[in-house]
């Protein structure tokens, strides 16, 4: 039987709410204090003075803690018809739809998950939700949690630190290669789609792991704020790839802080696709602290009607011979606004660092908007930093060429778009990239219809 919500904090935020969340979770004192301290910081932090307008967020109107997802939307029938229709159009199986919508758990995949879980346990990999990790692996959590993204980092990091719930914990032991991508998708967790997820990934020396989260089907939530925090620690010689496909419904403010630390010879790759939400602000970063560490950021952002995608990346080169690459692809249509906002920092210790930044924007009409805010700070003379940016309006000439070969306009547009995002989409696991293509096609048809 589906779990029924057993606890729901009252709307609005107070010290009392924070204590209540911690108490409900039976947390140790250190975590409770961490939350309370974070709440104090949040109270004093103003909203960011730059970037998209966030003034419409009603902090007092948000429910900060729901124990079970079932509560999110009581039944499939209660979901908005637009969301249901999208599921039908992109062909998500019924069971999956329900799970994605947060209506019920995905019972079918429990079996799959169990077998993956057994293999992981054999390798000594820890993969569980964050609440479990606090309880079962306190030493590891204590050592890393909140050290890369401290509560005072930004307003939404402090909010998340105070009220976080759910999210994933991953620990990969030294030398272990996790072959299959770890998919949050398989994890049957009622807090899977929580608004204030907290994810911590630790890849020990020489290990490798690919973590994927999200799905292409829109995630509906009646609450309007998603403020996640993700910290990734990549030890010497280790490799982590973190893939996100985000398609929140268009009432959500998606304000996420993601940061990784890459030590000597480590590789950190962020692959980030943002399709949904009302406003997304997300600038995953990599602190390249060890020699020859490499950071990668590949992203796709799609801004449709009424949407703002303000996304980018930050690469901090803090050691010799570190390298980084940022490849950002943004699409805007029907008045959508897509921005690239990024920073490449070459520190004094970063001898012979190299970085390349490419931002390509595609616009469908003149109502749409695309901006690029690249910042480069170089503190040495021997850095090699390249920046390239291009903006193209989806060209009538290209559409005519394709039409003259028998392609209807929707097919031609979809083909041009999938070609445009191909350098990034080919890096996404196949099942996601197929859905992504289907979804983009659907978005195009919506425009025409």
């Amino acid at each position: 039987m589906p779990e029924v919500s057993t606890h729901k904090a009252a709307r609005g935020l107070s010290e009392e709410t924070v204590r209540e969340i911690s108490a409900t979770k039976n947390e140790p004192e250190w975590m409770r204090n961490f939350r309370l301290k974070s709440y104090e910081i949040f109270r004093k932090k103003p909203l960011p003075s730059w970037g998209p307008d966030l003034s419409e967020i009603q902090f007092d109107d948000i429910t900060y803690y729901l124990k079970a997802t079932k509560d999110r939307s009581a039944s499939w029938d209660e979901l908005p018809s637009e969301i249901k229709e999208t599921y039908d159009r992109i062909g998500v199986p019924e069971a999956e739809k329900r799970s994605l919508a947060g209506v019920s758990a995905q019972y079918e995949s429990e079996v799959v998950y169990e077998s993956i879980d057994r293999e992981l346990r054999r390798q000594g990999v820890l993969f569980c939700d964050m609440d479990t990790a606090v309880r079962d692996y306190p030493d590891l959590v204590k050592r890393y949690f909140g050290t890369l993204i401290p509560p005072h980092d930004n307003t939404f990091a402090s909010l998340n630190s105070a009220v976080w719930s759910g999210g994933s914990f991953v620990y990969v032991p030294r030398g272990v290669q996790v072959e299959l991508p770890l998919q949050a998708y398989f994890r049957i967790n009622s807090e899977r789609f929580g608004q204030f997820e907290r994810t911590l990934i630790i890849a020990d020396e020489g290990s490798s792991v690919h973590y994927t989260e999200g799905c292409t089907a829109p995630i509906y939530s009646t609450d309007s704020l998603h403020a996640a925090v993700v910290e990734v620690f990549v030890a010497k010689g280790a490799r982590v790839r973190y893939t996100t496909v985000q398609n929140w419904s268009n009432n959500i403010y998606n304000l996420v802080t993601k940061r990784a630390r890459a030590e000597e010879d480590a590789v950190m790759e962020w692959v980030d696709c943002n399709i949904g939400s009302k406003v997304t602000m997300k600038y995953p970063s990599v602190y390249l602290t060890g020699k020859r560490a490499h950071g990668d950021m590949l992203s796709i952002a799609f801004a449709g009607k009424g949407q703002t995608q303000d996304a980018g990346a930050k690469m901090f080169h803090l050691a010799p011979h570190t390298t980084s690459r940022i490849l950002s692809k943004s699409l805007s249509k029907d008045g959508g606004h897509a921005s690239y906002r990024g920073l490449v920092h070459i520190g004094e210790q970063a001898k012979s660092a190299r970085s390349s930044v490419t931002c390509d924007a595609m616009m469908f009409d003149s109502d749409s908007r695309s901006d690029t805010y690249p910042a480069i700070r170089i503190h040495r003379g021997d850095a090699n930093v390249e920046h390239e940016a291009s903006v193209e309006k989806i060209g009538e000439e290209k559409l005519f060429l394709l039409a003259s070969r028998g392609l209807a306009r929707e097919d031609a547009e979809a083909l041009l778009v999938s070609g445009f995002i191909e350098p990034v989409s080919k890096e996404i696991p196949l099942e996601y990239s197929i859905e992504l293509t289907r979804l983009i096609r659907y978005e195009m048809e919506k425009k025409i219809g």
Binding site: L402, S404, R405, L415, G419, F420
Partner: protein
């Protein structure tokens, strides 16, 4: 098969084509000549229905006895009209097989691939180009070879080749010409927009059409192409035409 009557067209507020009446027949070859800016490419694009070209009210285009004057470009293409582009724009990330899967919805993907590979090798197109984004970083000759390959893939009833021989070296011109000859079916109609005789030597035109300032200045047999392109040039041709036309 293709009838154009009283075609006049504007782009923005510029009048490009005036009162053009022409007829193209099954299995025949046409040379469409004229100086730069005389409206040849616009006429070809107009026949395919490029959206920015606006026709006058009495313009009438029909294909196989049904009007296509207001038909969408992709529907014209599906009826069997084809235009090869003078300089096709790069389509990054769009492979030729992805395009063909949409363009040939009834043909199996495996058949599309094997035909494309056969044609590519006959045209001396390197295999790696088949999986790259179309025209992305292609040389002039590679672009034209790909246009030729697409013609063969689509098997249109009428093909308008817009300067298929421009910017192509002699060897590639020969390759393209012999390829066209090999795969042309007897009922297919060819229209060459060109400034040189190279392709016309392989496909001697049944008819020559000379455009000037957006009008049909002159029509004649295949020998007229030779006269204009080899000896006389357009100015002379236009002058004789004007003289002939005056009494009317």
């Amino acid at each position: 098969m293709l009838e154009i009557r009283h075609l006049s067209a504007t782009i923005g507020d510029r009048k490009i084509l005036s009162d053009i009446t022409l007829s193209f027949e099954t299995g025949k070859t046409y040379a469409l000549l004229g100086p730069n800016g005389s409206g040849k490419s616009t006429l070809a694009a107009a026949i395919l229905g490029r959206p920015d070209i606006v026709f006058s009210e009495n313009t009438e285009i029909s294909f196989e006895n049904s009007s296509i004057t207001t038909l969408d470009t992709h529907k014209r293409a599906r009826l069997g009209l084809f235009l090869s582009f003078q300089s096709p724009p790069a389509l990054p990330g769009v492979s030729v097989s992805a395009l063909l899967r949409h363009a040939l919805p009834t043909e199996k993907a495996i058949d599309i691939r094997s035909r494309a590979q056969t044609y590519a090798s006959e045209l001396d197109i390197s295999k790696s180009l088949l999986s790259r984004g179309l025209y992305d970083g292609f040389s002039g000759g590679e672009r034209k070879k790909f246009e030729t390959l697409l013609w063969a893939m689509l098997r249109p009833k009428i093909a308008l080749f817009d300067e298929l021989d421009t910017g192509v070296d002699v060897d590639a011109q020969k390759k393209i010409a012999s390829f066209l000859k090999k795969y042309r079916e007897p009922e297919q109609c060819f229209v060459f927009i060109t400034h040189s005789l190279s392709l016309l030597e392989t496909f001697f035109p049944d008819e020559t059409i000379v455009l000037g300032e957006g009008r049909v200045m002159k029509t004649g047999n295949g020998a007229l192409s030779k006269t204009i392109l080899q000896e006389e040039g357009f100015e002379e041709s236009a002058r004789t035409n004007t003289l002939q036309a005056t009494p009317r």
